[in-house]
Symmetry: C2
Subunit: 301 residues, 2 copies
DNA sequence: TTTAACCGCTGCATTTTTTGCAGCGTTTCA
DNA sequence: TGAAACGCTGCAAAAAATGCAGCGGTTAAA
């Protein structure tokens, strides 16, 4: 990477927000880093950073430049991995920004891919919809997996998958032997709900918007795992999408039953990438495999 | 351009075909250049050049790399010009690979664009269809303008325009006062034709493929200008597409009359760029203006 | 078959560039 | 009001790139 140190340095400064902080991460002196920045600015003929009392921030020209730089760094990575392909190895690194609701789905997929390509490493990070898009934009994630997002400008959808909302309840619960659940039935019992920022909650809220019935959760949490465990422990109902359930599916003391589609419409999972970006080969192939698997499991949209 | 000298050097070596020749153009010693190449190869872990007795040639890895490098250099150019836009200037350079038949059309277009943007410079190069595509692929041209090409893999069409074949003849010619020309009529007189590699000739040949009449040119040339001038001088008929006629149109002693569409189908002019490339702003805008002008003159396809 | 012309590549001295240290002036926050 | 960050600069040391001379090999013409 010798021939693009300057690009890496600039990227580091942008991320760190100040030259001195970036210099620490890069293990060089702030002097050297500072002078590289000055050199680039002279080369371009315009400054790319605003100098603030607490550090630096990109100006307009800098925004243009940093996008080019990150694209360039990522593209070089892709070329390296294609070259590695030529010589027989298969390497790479795939980073994924993923909604909490979908997190349990990934481990087996990643494991399956790594079985075929042990040289490929992964980074999986929990991000809400907005943060997932931001991660695509600043190239900290190659792929994003989110549930029911608002439409996002830089987000280019690779595929979507329908997910009905399921009720999650203890096997001992009175409703546990139903084939489907009516929402009204459920709400006659105490329920545990995710917070309003989550897609599942949003679907339930909008389903009830014209109804006199209101959601009155006895437990509210931003952890799906907690909600699931609590539903079983206290014998109440929680709601989740099937992909978010642990791969073992229904355990001995827990069942998951779809809500009737007349009551609550199903939501959409989106897999996507940064608009216009060419993904590294490993990421592109993983996305491919994910697409196929999702379509197999949950059918075409 | 300090931070991408290595990229420029590699590109130069590829174009020159040998390190020593490239070093002369770059005004450095072959030593320095050679060592940069070796450094890059070590960095990548694989050679990118085959060493031949008379120089070097890219291997597979090198092909991947050079494409990335050229894309990267061109993209940086785009960023620079966008930054220049921000600061109020408007600069850039547009290179065009153009079939001979279309060459006379360009000067007024270029002049018109440069009137609005004096900072933008142009390079216009005569290339046949295959060479035009090659120029796009190796980034020596931003845009290509060709007539009736065979389908080309890396060529991404921006727009097309219909062009009927015209007969070009002296005003004194017996057919000069017709509204349209029948091919059979024309061929009763001596004709001057471009060589078989040109689209106009190709259209005429295919029009006669099932006919007993054959083309027997008394003059054959690969210069459209020569054909035009000769048609007038000897008082015979030549064939050309209207866009290739000098902008003054029909001069005092020359007329241009369309062939009847029943005899010879009209051909297509293609304007295109390298598939998947983001053009520099100046090139993109020029392409835009060209599109509009072509559509205005010759109508939608 | 010899010879001259290129080719890529290497050891070594030289030049150029980059880096680190110390320190300046300024702003923010406690 | 003092401590802590910040970006930036002069100067010397360290590192990297460059140029020169020359080696061994291949091609193509004499």
């Amino acid at each position: 990477m010798r021939h693009q140190t300057t690009l890496l340095y600039i990227d580091a400064v942008v991320r760190a927000g100040s030259i001195r902080r970036a210099s620490e991460m890069l293990a060089i002196t702030s002097t050297a880093l500072n002078r590289r920045i000055l050199a680039i600015e002279e080369e371009l003929g315009v400054p790319i950073f605003e100098r603030l009392p607490r550090g630096v921030r990109l100006n307009g020209a800098g925004e243009l430049l940093i996008h080019h730089i990150r694209n360039q760094l990522s593209d070089m990575e892709r070329v390296r991995s294609q070259i590695a392909d030529l010589t027989g190895e298969r390497r790479g690194h795939v980073t994924i920004a993923c909604s909490q609701a979908l997190l349990p789905y990934l481990p087996q997929q990643v494991a399956g891919y790594r079985k075929d390509h042990p040289g490929v490493t992964f980074g999986v990070f929990l991000r809400d919809r907005a943060a997932a898009e931001a991660a695509l934009v600043d190239y900290t994630a190659d792929l994003a997996l989110v549930f029911e997002p608002i439409r996002l400008a830089e987000f280019q959808t690779i595929m979507t998958v329908r997910q009905p909302v399921h009720g999650v309840l203890a096997r001992a619960h009175p409703l546990a032997n139903h084939q489907t659940l009516r929402l009204r039935e459920c709400l006659q019992y105490p329920v545990a709900l995710p917070t309003r920022s989550y897609g599942v909650r949003h679907l339930l809220e909008t389903a009830l918007v014209d109804s006199p019935i209101k959601l009155n959760p006895v437990v509210e949490s931003d952890s799906f795992e907690f909600l699931r465990l609590h539903a079983v422990a206290e014998g109440i109902i929680s709601f989740q999408i099937p992909i978010g359930l642990p791969p073992e599916g229904m355990t001995a003391d827990m069942v998951s039953i779809p809500l009737d589609a007349r009551d609550v419409p199903s939501g959409l999972i989106y897999m996507g990438q940064l608009r216009g970006r060419t993904l590294p080969v490993a990421a592109a192939r993983f996305a491919d495999i994910l697409s196929k698997d999702l379509e197999e499991r949950y059918g075409p949209t």
